[in-house]
């Protein structure tokens, strides 16, 4: 059984269209995410409190909201899990100090819910994050991403060519930005778990791109006369079956996580789902296109690009 038999699509012809479409999507996404709604940072990054309470029976969100309204006006109340759980999120008030005041706020909210008369809840989980830690995590998350991308840039630069490395990294950044705007659009909070997923996408996207580049490197040795864009196009087509099957299967595995992984991992799974789709698209349309465009600039004429394979194949 085969999905593609000897595919020969002219992907490279569409590179400018793809680039413009991606730029447009990113611009719209970032506009929505940053200017319209603001990035929905989780409490790990902004500071604040999240309490999940487990009630003996199903409880209405509105009732809980009414019970805590006098003491916590802008609290977010949301039903999670099986329906007996209520999540209450208190934002860090501007300028408040760390630690004890947040702790006290959380206790007051818990007391208010307990006294509201719809059963005594147990605390399923409670997270309190002071603003200092939040700022620290933000910085660390950004650093982890930048350094990971830097490391990948270096590795691909050494193993392939620098133009390819730039293509792969731009494709990864492209995937990160589009995924972030999707998260904002669908109101998923940017929690630490989600950041882990975003970083995973970076890895996935690069992984996907390397498979194609690897084929390009191999084909460059076999077809020295061919121009680079035709070699790239051929390589994309040759690996198309693998790209689509892997993407589909990873999508399935992550979809299982989305369906069965519970509330805690739903944001993670959603991020991965978006990332797999975007990552596959960027492998086919963005990474290689950038590599070709950059190679045109640096080398004139048909591809004199020499493979830099350090590891000879058997």
């Amino acid at each position: 059984m085969r999905i593609f038999s000897n595919p020969n699509y002219d992907f490279i012809r569409w590179r400018w269209h793809a680039l413009i479409a991606s730029l447009g999507l990113m611009a719209v996404g970032l506009y929505v995410a940053v200017f319209l709604q603001g990035l929905p940072l989780g409490i790990e990054f902004t500071g604040g409190t999240v309490v999940v309470m487990d009630f003996p029976q199903r409880v209405d969100e509105g009732q809980v909201r009414a019970a805590i309204d006098p003491i916590a006006k802008d609290a977010i109340v949301q039903r999670v899990g099986t329906g007996n759980q209520i999540m209450i999120r208190l934002r860090q008030a501007e300028g408040t100090q760390v630690g004890d005041s947040l702790e006290a706020d959380a206790l007051r909210v818990e007391a208010a819910v307990k006294n509201a008369g719809f059963g005594v809840p147990t605390i399923a989980s409670k997270d309190i994050v002071g603003p200092v830690i939040g700022a620290d995590l933000q910085r660390k998350g950004i650093w982890a991403t930048i350094t990971a991308l830097g490391g990948i840039l270096l590795y691909i630069g050494v193993r392939f060519r620098f133009n390819f490395a730039v293509g792969a990294v731009i494709a990864a950044v492209h995937d990160i930005l589009i995924t972030l705007s999707m998260l904002a659009f669908f109101h998923f909070d940017l929690t630490l778990n989600v950041i882990a997923a975003v970083l995973t996408i970076t890895g996935y996207s690069v992984n996907d791109t390397i498979v194609v580049f690897d084929r390009v490197r191999e084909n460059q040795r076999l077809m020295r006369r061919e121009p680079l864009d035709s070699i790239v196009n051929k390589s994309v087509n040759q690996t198309l079956g693998r790209t689509v099957i892997t993407a589909g299967l990873t999508f399935l595995a992550v979809f299982a996580l989305y369906l069965f992984g519970g509330d805690v991992l739903r944001g993670f799974a959603f991020t991965m789902l978006v990332g797999v789709v975007v990552g596959t698209y960027s492998t086919i349309f963005i990474a290689a296109s950038i590599a070709i465009i950059l190679s045109r600039r640096t080398t004139s004429g048909p591809a004199t690009a020499q493979p830099q394979a350090k590891l000879r194949r058997a």
Binding site: A124, S125, D127, I133, A144, I152, L199, A256
Partner: protein, 535 residues
């Protein structure tokens, strides 16, 4: 053709038994309550807080406190030294906010002697600045202040360790956290009563015993002379634990403590003569000697027992006390026990503030494990089903290598004592994805090679050989990303990176070595000229 097949097969079997035995068996045995030798059970997979439930805290040590105490002590020491040297008329004033103390009106005749005394005592740790007119300012050196801050954090870690060790939690963990240098992380997996744990950890437990000059009175102004607190004295409030008597009580006590928490060697909860909960303590030899002198000289006077700057009780000294004392007050049994615990563990050098707390109930953890397992099983089933349909018998090959991968991954983590967290389970699913990717790469390549009219053996060999470089490149790139995640990430991100790293390494083994051996096993059973391969 495949000479080493037997050895390859045995290697795989050995790896499987090793990792399966260390990784899977102990965890499964404990889940189902099967009795097994203890050395084997030590390799049980450790679960993170998010799966096990419990409490995690990030605390900040207010290291300024430690410097403040140091500066005040130095000022006191200098005062004593000047008195001993008969240099009179000087004032010594501590200014903790500036990490310095000021000495004023040193008589001109004694200045030389004063400098010698000061340099002997503080030459190492303070910079002396002469302001003229007998005024000197001593500022703590920056490097000394830095060391004092570090010491305060180390001491806080040790104190907290002693405290949490007595909480009865299976695997408490206390250690420095973050890059700021003054943060501590405490993990208490499986903890039942977070509020009590927080109370015990946060207690500074600064115990001081000071002689009472006068009191108690309800207005602190009555203790002042001419609107000033007398020299060498301070006013301390009694902690109002008695609800029927809300009027505050103040005492005038000596500023210098007769003995303090450092002199306490042991403490335990007891019952006092009125059958109320109390805490009795035993002093070190040095402390006992000091305390003996003080009590002998002050029989009939009150001695204030001050805990965290509040008087707990002020009993009258009935006779000479040396080694053993008792703190009575309005304690509940639990409070007495907790107080004894914090006294035993020693005082914190500085107050702690909570930067972040994470509390996970045990049910949520169990739910998460179930959800994670379910997601992994479903994910694996989806993938296997597709592989079997699309690659027929070779799909089985992929399934085996992915299951091997997961077993090795679990074994790795159990053996190295890595902690499995919820994001770690997500890492499992990604590992399944990576395993599938490698298999798909190989199978697609073999199909391609078969298309070029090669024999099946050559096609399989060429497929594996060609794809090996690709797999190496993708895995190294992913490893680089995972390494940075681990380096700069925190908590959940690290858990994820850990699983990913081990998953990537074992995947190279299973997808390339195991899968290839399985293929060769099948091929060795076929006649040399066979042209059919189920792929």
């Amino acid at each position: 053709m495949y000479k080493n097949l037997r050895w390859k097969f045995l290697t795989i079997l050995a790896v499987l038994v090793l990792f399966g035995g260390l990784g899977l068996y102990p965890s499964i045995a404990s889940y189902f309550g099967v009795k097994s030798p203890a050395w084997l059970m030590a390799y049980q997979l450790r679960l993170g807080l998010d799966l096990k439930g419990g409490l995690q805290l990030i605390l900040k040590v207010q290291t300024d406190d430690a410097l403040k105490v140091e500066v005040e002590n130095s000022a006191e020491q200098l005062k004593t030294a000047l008195r001993d040297a008969n240099i009179t008329g000087t004032t010594v004033r501590a200014d903790p906010a500036q990490v310095q103390f000021t000495v004023e009106s040193v008589p001109t005749a004694s200045e030389q002697q004063f400098r010698t005394i000061a340099d002997n005592q503080f030459g190492q740790s303070y910079d002396r600045d002469a302001r003229g007119g007998g005024t000197y300012v001593f500022t703590m050196r920056t490097n000394v202040a830095k060391i004092r801050r570090e010491e305060a954090v180390t001491q806080a870690v040790q104190t907290l360790e002693r405290r949490v060790n007595e909480l009865g939690v299976a695997e408490p963990w206390v250690g420095p956290y973050g890059t700021a240098g003054d943060e501590i992380m405490v993990q208490l997996p499986g903890l039942k009563d977070p509020a009590r744990a927080k109370a015990i950890m946060g207690k500074t437990a600064m115990l001081e015993l000071k002689l009472v000059e006068s009191g108690p009175v309800s207005d602190e102004k009555m203790l002042q002379t001419n609107g000033q607190v007398p020299a060498e004295m301070q006013i301390v409030r009694e902690s109002s634990t008695n609800p029927s008597d809300p009027t505050p009580k103040f005492y005038l006590v000596k500023k210098t403590a007769s003995i303090n928490g450092n002199d306490v060697r042991n403490a335990r909860a007891t019952i006092d003569q009125y059958n109320l909960p109390a805490v009795s303590f035993t002093l070190s030899n040095e402390g006992a000697a000091k305390f003996g002198d003080v009590t002998a000289a002050n029989i009939g006077k009150q001695l204030a027992i001050i805990l965290d700057s509040q008087i707990v009780s002020a009993p009258v000294i009935q006779g000479v006390i040396t080694r053993d004392g008792e703190i009575t007050g309005q304690f509940t049994q639990q409070e007495a026990q907790d107080l004894a615990l914090v006294l035993r563990s020693g005082a914190l050098p500085a107050t702690l503030t909570y930067l972040a707390t994470q509390e996970v109930g045990p049910t949520l953890g169990a739910d998460s494990i179930r959800a994670g397992l379910m997601a992994s099983v479903m994910g694996l089933s989806f993938v296997t089903l597709f592989m079997l349909v699309y690659y027929r018998l070779s799909g089985l090959n992929a399934f085996i290598s992915i299951v091997f991968n997961l077993i090795i991954l679990l074994g790795f983590m159990a053996y190295l004592g890595a902690v499995l967290t919820l994001p770690g389970i997500a890492g499992f699913i990604l590992t399944i994805g990576m395993g599938v990717d490698s298999n798909v790469l190989i199978f697609e390549r073999i199909r391609e090679e078969l298309g070029t009219k090669k024999g099946i053996r050559q096609a399989v060999a060429a497929g594996f050989d060609r794809v090996f470089v690709t797999i190496l490149d993708t895995h190294v790139a992913s490893l680089i990303a995972a390494a940075f995640l681990f380096q700069f990430g925190t908590g959940p991100i690290r858990g994820f990176a850990t699983t990913l790293v081990f998953g990537l390494i074992s995947n190279v083994f299973t997808a390339v070595f195991v899968s290839r051996t399985l293929f060769e096993l099948i091929l060795s059973k076929k006649p040399a000229g066979a042209t059919q391969l189920s792929i």
